[in-house]
């Protein structure tokens, strides 16, 4: 949904790190994106190519890793992973409690690292 604003933020952070490290060209950027966010990889790359044209990050490849949704059962404390389409449908695999969970992770947009020349 919001590939454009997210891409702007990514570019801003990447350009900042490129300056700090005095590199001339960024080759790739590794992102970790939570399964809960509705980002389309293709659109991210597409917007990135467009926005990064006149920056050291022009032409860089976005490597997108998907991070799983992790829930925690509030009855027994068990943490477990589920798929997005199972949200709200699955009971705690350890104690069987239905629907008493909190979200541990799955919404992040984490910029992990980049390769640069």
């Amino acid at each position: 949904m919001h590939e454009l604003p997210v891409t702007e933020s990514i570019l801003e952070i990447v350009v900042k790190h490129a300056k700090q490290n005095q590199v001339s060209r960024v080759v790739s950027i590794t992102l970790e994106v939570g399964e809960l966010s509705d980002l389309e990889n293709e659109w991210l790359q597409h917007y990135f190519d467009y926005l990064s044209k006149d920056t050291p990050a022009a032409g860089a490849e976005l490597k997108i890793q998907r991070a799983p949704i992790v829930l925690k059962c509030r009855q027994c404390g068990h943490e477990f992973q589920i798929r997005k389409d199972e949200l709200g449908l699955s009971d705690c695999p350890q104690c069987g409690t239905a629907g008493d969970v909190s979200l541990v992770s799955g919404r992040q947009y984490h910029i992990k690292e980049m390769e640069a020349l």
Partner: protein, 221 residues
């Protein structure tokens, strides 16, 4: 030959916004201004609900509205006629509001002069859920024609909201909307969610909603 260097970045996009939202919430608390972020699909009834709400509370509270719904110059105008202050945010086709945009709106309206400010967020159920606006409470509207299966499609929105308003209940008879099934789905995602059934058209259920706001305000001050 130039060599490829691996540079660690370890930055989070959402955490910048989370931090800005946290600071905004603190500032609002200092000003004693309570802010409710209202989210829904386009046309679910945000503006209609606000008009009904302002009508019921305008004699006891100083109310302001930050309008971010697309094409909502009309909405801001309607709100002003109802007796509350309103500012229109130019979201430029953005799909959500972030804390920085909300801060612009709050500065524009002069938040310290209000007891209660509503944010009418951009109409969609996806990304407004991901961006903390700095509001004290998130309210979401689901209207009957949208169907009772929405929690399965937009789980995050149902997870981050404090109260769910089922709007257009006057249309219930015409649809196969299953309120009991909806409640069950919502509570599986978010056990503490308050669920209120309203109609911004007939005014049904509005007293419970206004009571919910009064209680939230009491706990705040």
């Amino acid at each position: 030959m130039e060599e490829i260097k691996l540079i660690e970045i370890k930055e989070n996009i959402l955490s910048d916004n989370d931090e800005a939202a946290r600071q905004l919430r603190q500032k609002l608390a200092d000003e004693k201004t309570f802010v409710i972020n209202l989210m829904s699909s386009p046309g679910a009834g945000k503006t209609s609900l606000l008009l009904q709400t302002i009508e019921r509370l305008k004699n006891e509270l100083r109310i302001g509205v930050i309008e971010a719904d697309i094409d909502s110059v009309v909405d801001a105008e309607k709100i002003r006629q109802s007796g509350a202050a309103a500012v229109q945010l130019r979201t430029g086709g953005f799909c959500h509001l972030d804390a920085a945009m909300v801060k612009t709106g709050l500065d524009g309206i002069g938040s310290k002069d209000f007891d209660l400010i509503f944010i009418e967020n951009v109409g969609n159920l996806v990304c407004p859920a991901e961006f903390d606006t700095g509001a004290m409470k998130n309210a979401m509207i689901l209207s009957v024609p949208e169907g009772d299966d929405k929690p399965l499609k937009y789980p995050l929105m149902f997870t981050v909201s404090d109260v769910l308003l089922i709007n257009k209940t006057d249309m219930m008879a015409l649809s196969d909307f299953d309120t009991a099934a909806l409640r069950q789905r919502v509570h599986k995602l978010h056990p503490e969610m308050e669920i209120l059934e309203v109609s911004a058209k007939t005014g049904a259920g509005m007293d419970q909603w206004v009571d919910w706001i009064r209680r939230a305000l009491e706990n705040f001050s």
